[in-house]
Symmetry: C2
């Protein structure tokens, strides 16, 4: 199960109406945060998300609206009692970025680790019980999208275990993928387990032009979160120049990816009606919704088998 | 005339209830901002203060809750069309601080100047039409208080000018301090001007223990803004250890300074009832008020002659 909260949905600068875009993904009491602009620690608090559960921060890129909140959040983590290490991942240069930002956050109460990811190619690593993959995006600066996957065990089929007279006390062992022996007999997991299940998958891509690799990267996502800096087609040229996409682009990518659901985010402060834009986008991709500060969901993957 | 707005009143971290402490002082369309923590650009916007009028930023010290909002504010200034230079003043080390913070605010659309002030002694300079003085405070790190003064011309006494038969067209010249000659006669300014008037004075001191020099520095202030991290006497030891003062200390300093009015600010997130503390503080200093986000006043100095 993944608990997901889009704690902010704005782009460029925090305003009285919107916090800056950031995503909280929590599994089993451990949380991963993607992006941390100015005010993100307040956005998390407003959304009731307790930062001490935060062990991993993924940065997409180093524009201020995605990183300026990092010193404050790290200090608050320490003041709230975090003592376990925290790891910050980001594209090449993240170590240098941290050295600058930590100038105003000296003496953290926990170890801060840093994972520098290749800016030009994808990478995969584990964080917070999840598998994370990165994808180079098409922005004005090196920028990474992230896919977070939660591997799932195959379904346990109790009717098969019963037929094999397996004692109930051994079900958990079998479900964990281990053979069990009882009454001189051995039962292998594959005798009582269903088919492999695809992982639960959340994909977050901002800031970026509508780059072709995104759809493949987001294939089968339970939740796809894409930027939509503007909606109006008249903004296409400006969006391209600034390295962004339109709400319609996001819907087309979600359709091509076969995603279950799309949330848009990272709205320009001048883009005041994202709900209206998503109503139109649903003609392209029916499960498209406008992100808002604090929008949340729980991904159980039940529909997906 | 000075327009003053305490856009934020919190300390330590921004919360859903309070922006971080910062002060806006505007004179004749030019503004000076003191301190710029995370979220200050949103606080200014909520208070209706337009940042493009901002030419000077004074930093008290380099703790994140006083400076982390600087990169975002500077970027927003540029995006809002500021092209005239902006000067950031702060204690020794401010140039290095800026070099770190500007790592996430490259390519500003205006010239950023930097004024490094001595950390161990006071300094005086001009900014935004005001005279600024700094005072070393007693915090855990080098920290400066600031006094902002608006010099005032003496009152013009029209009855004296009339008695001397000065043509009305020459009143302005005399009020500006220049002699005038008419009908072969010369009139000197002191013949038509009242007594010297003290400047309008706003003093801002945070973060600091209740250091003795503050009262002298704040002598005769129209508005004295002092930190009051905590209120309860039980917090005295903690306040001292962390380099802060109590609400009662602030009232005693205001009394000793002979200030016209006191606002407290920089409350601990745990200090939820500053109004109650100020009710008690008014037993010591009758014109003591709890600052809140967006508290404002206009200082005309009329009462002060």
């Amino acid at each position: 199960m993944l608990e997901v909260c889009l704690a902010g949905c704005g782009g460029m600068l925090p305003t009285p109406e919107r916090w800056l875009t950031c995503l909280w993904v929590e599994h089993d009491g451990e949380a991963v945060l993607i992006d941390c602009g100015e005010g993100t620690q307040v956005a998390l608090r407003e959304a009731g998300l307790h930062p001490t559960r935060l062990g991993t921060i993924l940065l997409t890129h180093f524009h201020a609206d995605h990183v300026a909140g990092l010193p404050g959040l790290l200090l608050t983590l320490g003041n709230n009692g975090r003592r376990e290490p925290v790891t910050v991942y980001g594209p090449q240069g993240v170590r240098e970025l941290l050295s600058h930002l930590l100038a105003i956050a000296p003496g953290l109460a926990f170890e801060l680790r840093c994972g520098e990811l290749p800016a030009g190619e994808g990478a995969a690593f584990s964080a917070g019980g999840l598998t994370v993959q990165s994808l180079p995006l098409d922005h004005r600066t090196a920028c990474l999208g992230y896919a977070l996957e939660l591997r799932r065990k195959p379904v346990f089929l109790p009717e098969k275990a019963e037929a094999l007279l397996v004692p109930k006390a051994l079900y958990r062992e079998l479900h964990a993928g281990n053979e069990v022996t009882f009454d001189g007999r051995t039962v292998r997991p594959e005798e009582v387990l269903g088919a492999e299940r695809p992982p639960l998958k959340v994909v977050y891509c901002t800031d970026t032009r509508p780059a072709p690799p995104i759809a493949q990267f987001a294939r089968g996502a339970d939740l796809l979160i894409l930027e939509a800096m503007y909606a109006d087609d008249a903004m296409r040229e400006k969006a391209h120049e600034k390295g962004h996409m339109l709400a319609g682009d996001a819907a087309r990518i979600a359709l091509e990816a076969g995603a279950m659901e799309l949330w848009t985010t990272h709205y320009s402060p001048a883009f005041t009606e994202p709900e209206e834009a998503q109503r139109r986008a649903r003609e392209t991709f029916p499960n498209a919704w406008a992100g808002f500060d604090g929008k949340r969901t729980v991904i159980r993957g039940a529909e997906k088998r």
